[in-house]
């Protein structure tokens, strides 16, 4: 099933990856039938090929190729202006590439889906600046993020079930905000807001998490805790982390991609990348 963004207002299909049991090629008997969930037959959850984005002639991304495996924890590093945030914008549908292919799993064409469809399909994003709903309580923030029917009518009639409450409590516990559950999110510290946003991602239960500088402004203890959390998440989810803090990258990543001027400069383990001549030249600095 290839889902495309429609012009029909409010009638965009809600994508249920779980119901999409390997249609298209599988339906006519080519290839093996995919199991439940997103079709990730070839082990890649995200496929970016030849992606280019230009703003008024400036090429923010230049023929970029990137593949992220199922359950992988990938770190993206690169100097300022290397295109890291643009890359996230392309994946989440905020920016359209001028050319190139972007596939989520085997069947969902990200370049033709709206931001909302992409989020519903299972890609969660954490912003660089922690963005939470400041006027709502921590509990309510998590409630809104929870994976459920998010249409207008459903929201008018929604009641929190016991199971959903338990899930929220569980996440509150994970992000260590149980004591602040009823506080307005606007009153949290910077680090707590970062955790709340990560908690909201967990509630969404996405298959792919994009995290833009998740440990910026965190204390050492908080950073360490975040690293642990991410390592626990990898495997069940796929993570793509953009980060400047090399210590943090070293503590979590099994695989690092270096971006430079909108394309991939090097890929490999952190040690390999750090030894790469070109990387040393442009990024790690002389």
């Amino acid at each position: 099933m290839r889902v495309t963004a429609t012009d029909q207002f409010m009638l965009e299909p809600i994508i249920e990856p779980n119901r999409d049991q390997g249609t298209s090629r599988d339906a006519i008997g080519l290839g093996q039938a995919a199991g439940k969930g997103l079709n990730t037959r070839h082990g890649t959850i995200l496929t970016l090929e030849d992606i280019s984005v230009s703003f008024d002639g400036f090429k923010a991304l230049n023929d970029l190729n990137l593949y992220i495996g199922v359950g992988e924890l990938r770190c993206i590093i690169g100097p300022n202006g290397a295109g890291k945030t643009t890359l996230m914008d392309v994946i989440t549908g905020k920016t359209r590439p001028s050319h190139g292919k972007a596939w989520f799993g085997e069947t969902l064409d990200l370049t033709r889906m709206s931001e909302v469809q992409i989020a519903q399909a299972g890609i969660g994003r954490k912003f660089q600046k922690p963005t939470v709903f400041e006027a709502l309580s921590v509990f309510e923030n998590l409630e809104l993020a929870q994976k459920t029917d998010k249409s207008v009518w459903a929201s008018l009639r929604a009641r929190l079930g016991g199971e959903q409450k338990d899930r929220i409590e569980e996440v509150l516990d994970t992000i260590r905000l149980s004591a602040s559950a009823q506080r307005p999110a606007g009153l949290l510290s910077h680090g707590q807001k970062q955790f709340l946003e990560i908690g909201m991602l967990l509630m969404q239960d996405p298959q792919l998490l994009l995290l833009d500088e998740p440990v910026a402004g965190m204390t050492d203890a908080e950073t360490e805790f975040t690293a642990e959390l991410f390592k626990r998440l990898a495997g069940k989810h796929s993570l793509m982390v953009v980060e400047h803090d090399m210590g943090f990258v070293g503590s979590i990543a099994d695989h690092v991609t270096v971006l430079h001027q909108g394309s991939v400069l090097a890929e490999g383990s952190l040690e390999q990348v750090q030894e790469n001549e070109r990387v040393i030249e442009v990024y790690l600095g002389r």
């Binding site: 409010m10 709903f133 006027a135 709502l136 207008v152 008018l156 929604a158």
Partner: protein, 359 residues
Amino acid sequence: MNQPLMLTAAQKAGPKVTIAVGAVILAVLLALPLLSLLPAESAFHVSAYTLTLVGKILCYAIVALALDLVWGYAGMLSLGHGLFFALGGYAMGMYLMRQAAGSELPAFMTFLSWTELPWYWVGTEHFLWALCLVVLAPGLLALVFGFFAFRSRIKGVYFSIMTQALTFAGMLLFFRNETGFGGNNGFTNFRSILGFGITEPGTRAVLFLATVLLLVGSLFIGWRLARSKFGRVLTALRDAENRLMFCGYDPRGFKLFVWVLSAVLCGLAGALYVPQVGIINPSEMSPTNSIEAAVWVALGGRGTLIGPLLGAGVVNGMKSWFTVAFPEYWLFFLGALFIIVTLYLPKGIIGLLKKRGEQ
């Protein structure tokens, strides 16, 4: 005025007293029309002037509440809500004009030497169809405008300017005689509604009661919305729309729903305003009217349900006193009020009361 004091006490004493104060105010509002039916010699008699004035303010309070739903909760400042109010008023006015004209054409059409009704007047002699128009005219306009505005992601000050332009365009359109709504004179000289004389005390009392009911109904809808997940989504939309989209909500549907609901409430308020005040003309669509509505909401307190009602009551109460005592200075005073609220009372009267209550 002892109302704010009572409210301060209410804040201190918790919800029980708030409910009690609300019940007292409701009881007074329900008693007013009954008292107006007493003979004029009675000490408790309420004059038709007072009843009309309070009824008018209640209509404005409904507008304030409707505007607060889109501005205070969803963060979209509309400077064109007067248009929806006037459209509801005009729809009701059409029926009242047909009642007054009987089997003839409405008087202003005869002056223009028109010989038949324009197509959009068809059926307006029926009260029920007029009621449908009261809902449909503002509702459909809001739906179409909102559909395109939200699809194009028009937000913030651009949205406000567009709503302002919309009501201005509406005013210019209705000023034209050829539009078929009485030009700059609008509709007046109403005689009867559903066969009852429009100036009779009984009719006035019923209209007033209907206004109170609509206000209570609007409050109830607002309360249910604010407490539902829908209300929390609106608040989230106001504070971080991008975050909400990446959570998987489509903001357009949420905005459109509350926008159309708000417009329909305004239309209903307008429909009750016209028979009580006895006139509707295009000046109701003037941009200043819509801006004034925003002042009520800002003064009372955005994002609360009681705030806008309080704001509409206080400003209009002062307005009717000021325009009698110092007619030249009212607009200066209104401007000063808006500046003071913006600078010193960002959360309005309600914010002030809450602060007092906490201390």
